[in-house]
């Protein structure tokens, strides 16, 4: 590939992308080979450092590269399937990893050769993540950590090669202090992944049982006891990835309801009409709010509205899919399939209203419950006083659970 001065202008990036396409014509190049060449050209995520799939260019310029590649019909790395790796593991490894860890993990992660999962939530630690009870004890002789505990709601665990894991390494400290962050080999002895069947009948998530799992100290990310700060990096990146898409008018969940309304006049009632119009208006306003947020970001004036978009979309998805089931009348009594399946993706499109209705219930729970997000808006955006709490200065072992 061309080398020399790091290109950080749109023109230079466009030229570099075309060089890649010339050297590896997508039509005649194996998918993995193309993706590997793209990574090595620094065009995977241009804001990453050279040698790690990037060029140290401004993050916003990725769009230039993506547009060129899309126009040329280049293969992509299936970002929806490997979203946890791309969106959460990678930025955390970049921020806290050793040079060896970055070299070892980022390339196969980006290529999708190694799928990642997130071993954070536990049965007793959901919104209160820092209450986690999974233990990691250092075996001084072997230099390994021995991990015991249970994780839950783990998407992709059954496909994952690696997991980002938070575990308690000092129960005598207050709960935010005694946590350490690890990169867990999902093929290690003692890792057991069990499907967790959900409200939809599918097992999109898993329970993960960790029994005497050995993690070498070289797979610790960040310092011992600093896991909470590392986890915050992961969680902040999780929030960034929500709500950033541009959708067309009447895109999203409102589309199938509006289509059913137009195509099937026999389903129409006045009461449903009023509710449909209210939700259509709210969906359009949510679209405009998201668009305004995007424009603020593009203008370098990030607003706090992003904190709220997930709340809005969760509520709308639930209300709209609920209306849709009702609109369908007798057909709304039916469900597409209760067979337990293990989907790789959450895909609302192409599914029946009943599935959408049930799956959307998770939208106000996953990635931060609506109640927690409202607290965040109230405290960080409006500056309202925090809830009084007595868990911050108490040793974790002395907290009630």
């Amino acid at each position: 590939m061309t080398t020399g001065a790091t290109p950080t202008t749109p023109e230079a990036l466009r030229a570099r992308t075309r060089d890649l396409l010339t050297a590896h014509p997508p039509a005649r190049t194996d998918r993995t080979a193309f993706l590997r060449a793209r990574f090595d050209a620094g065009l995977a995520w241009v804001h990453y450092p050279p040698g790690l799939g990037g060029l140290g260019a401004p993050r916003t310029l990725q769009a230039v590269v993506d547009a060129e590649l899309e126009a040329a019909g280049a293969p992509d790395n299936d970002p929806r399937r490997i979203g946890i790796g791309l969106g959460m593991a990678a930025p955390t490894i970049l921020a806290y990893g050793t040079e060896e860890q970055k070299q070892r993990f980022l390339r196969p992660l980006w290529l999708g050769e190694e799928v990642w999962c997130q071993l954070f939530s536990e049965p007793g630690a959901g919104s209160d993540l820092a209450a986690l009870a999974t233990r990691a004890v250092l075996d001084q002789d072997a230099g390994d950590w021995i991990v015991d505990g249970q994780k839950v709601w783990t998407s992709s665990a059954h496909n994952a090669r690696w997991g980002i894991l938070v575990a308690r390494t000092d129960p005598a400290l207050p709960k935010h202090q005694g946590i350490t962050y690890f990169l867990c080999d999902m093929h290690a002895p003692g890792v057991e992944v069990r499907p967790l069947r959900q409200i939809t009948g599918e097992a999109e998530f898993n329970e993960v049982f960790l029994t005497g799992v050995r993690i070498p100290d070289t797979h610790r990310l960040g310092a011992v006891g600093e896991g909470w700060a590392v986890a915050r990096t992961t969680l902040m990146n999780e929030r960034v990835s929500i709500g950033g898409m541009r959708i067309p008018r009447e895109g999203g969940m409102i589309a199938p309801v509006a289509a059913a309304w137009r195509e099937r006049p026999e389903l129409r009632t006045h009461a449903l009409h009023q509710r449909l119009l209210e939700l259509w208006v709210e969906a359009e306003v949510a679209r405009l709010t998201g668009e305004r947020l995007r424009q603020q970001l593009a203008a370098g004036q990030p607003g706090p509205e992003g904190s709220g978009m997930k709340l809005t979309f969760a509520r709308l998805n639930q209300e709209i899919s609920g209306l849709e089931v009702e609109l369908l009348g007798a057909e709304g009594l039916l469900y597409e399939d209760w067979t337990m399946r293990r989907p790789e993706l959450v895909d609302f499109t192409g599914r029946d209203a009943g599935y959408r209705y049930l799956r959307a219930k998770g939208n106000s729970i996953e990635g931060g419950t609506s109640e927690i997000l409202l607290n965040i808006v109230a405290e960080r955006v409006l500056g309202l006083p925090p809830e009084p709490r007595d868990d911050k200065d108490t040793a974790w072992k002395d907290l009630s659970r």
């Binding site: 006045h270 119009l277 004036q301 409202l374 955006v381 309202l384």
Partner: protein, 374 residues
């Protein structure tokens, strides 16, 4: 000036630097001359309008002519700028005839292609004349134009119109009649103040008895001009509602931080925090909807009628909810006459009827989005 008909780029939903400068000027004026105590004191005299404030706002800052082309003495700006002015006026529940004179009447006159209309526009743009259309404040875009006024021959007009906003401050009334649109001097009409729900945008009954009028447009042109003006005004009213809602939220948050009960600021109770957080979300969303409407009107976007209907269907409810929450979350003080919350609640509720209710605008959405009633 002409409407681009090609598919357009996404609406610009931000504020430009010039718009922010305009906001700063209007806000500073209102902070100095139009605080809540002053507004309430004027309302209690039965003469809510402050002509001196109007003169400064309209003429010195030049807001009255924002929608008027420069060749007619205006600023040649547009709906985006007028929307910013209305945000600030809403934030202050300012008792000035901006929506009626600088928006509704101005837009009607811009739709009339006559020398008389042009002359009147110049007076409006300079702020020297206040003009209000003799239609009920509830008249909505898309609704049939009522014609209670009849031409009794030779341009002398007879009839009565109820619930005309700001007529008590007007020098000229724009009167739709069966034979067209007329300009009538206020002294040739009988303007009887009504006791309105909203203390800051006064209503009156306008009665005409063989009143002389100057014809500005024939019936078809009058209908089109009024329809266009109602669309613009409804779209810009959304910005007034955003400003109003934002004041309610800001005041409520400030109160909640300083008011202690059970040895804690009440704003630390989750039940209250969540209500304010939801309100903040609603206001942020209303702002996006109102900006979209202002931008669609400014650019003459083909989907402006839909965008305006969406903004009105949404922002009315947000303003009312914000004002209602403001009263509730202030506790007892929110129910008092001395606290300004009631001025905002009354304006918000009246605004939700003005220029079409949310339900009316949802009906328009149904038409534009092809989601027909059963």
């Amino acid at each position: 000036m002409t409407a681009p008909t090609a598919p357009t780029a996404p609406a610009d939903l931000l504020y430009s630097e010039a718009e922010e400068e305009l906001r700063t000027a209007v806000r500073a004026l209102l902070a100095a001359r139009c605080d809540a105590r002053t507004v309430l004191a004027r309302a209690e005299t039965g003469r809510p309008h402050d002509p001196a404030l109007w003169h400064t706002l309209a003429a010195e800052i030049g807001t009255a002519g924002l929608l008027v082309p420069e060749k007619l003495g205006g600023q040649g700006a547009g709906h985006r700028e007028a929307a910013v002015v209305l945000e600030e006026l809403g934030r202050a529940v300012a008792p000035v005839p901006y929506l009626t004179s600088a928006v509704l009447a101005t837009e009607i006159l811009l739709g009339c292609d006559t020398a008389e209309a042009a002359a009147l526009l110049s007076e409006l743009a300079s702020g020297s004349t206040v003009c209000t259309p003799a239609v009920p404040l509830t008249l909505a875009p898309g609704a049939p134009l009522p014609a209670p006024v009849r031409d009794s021959g030779g341009g002398t007009l007879t009839g009565t119109v109820d619930a005309v906003a700001d007529a008590v401050a007007a020098g000229v009334l724009l009167v739709p009649a069966d034979t067209g649109l007329y300009a009538v001097r206020a002294e040739d009409a009988t303007v009887t103040p009504l006791v309105g729900l909203d203390l800051t945008r006064p209503l009156a009954t306008v009665a005409l008895e063989a009143a002389p009028g100057i014809r500005l447009a024939d019936p078809a042109a009058a209908r089109a001009a009024v329809a266009g003006a109602l669309l613009s005004a409804a779209g810009l009213l959304a910005s007034e509602q955003v400003g109003l809602a934002e004041w309610c939220l800001t005041e409520t948050v400030a109160h909640s931080k300083g008011r202690y009960q059970f040895n804690r600021p009440v704003g630390s109770f989750q039940a209250l925090k969540h209500r304010m957080a939801r309100l903040w979300l609603d206001v942020a969303s209303a702002r996006a909807a109102a900006r979209a409407a202002a931008d669609a009107l400014a650019t003459g976007a083909p989907d402006a009628p839909l965008t305006v209907a969406v903004a009105q269907a949404y922002c009315s409810g947000v303003a009312v909810r914000a004002a209602e929450e403001c009263v509730q979350l202030h506790g007892g003080i929110g129910m008092t006459w001395e606290h300004p919350a009631h001025l905002y609640l009354k304006r918000a509720k009246a605004d939700s009827l003005a220029l079409g209710t949310a339900g009316h605008h949802r009906g328009l959405v149904a038409d534009f989005a092809e989601l027909p009633a059963p």
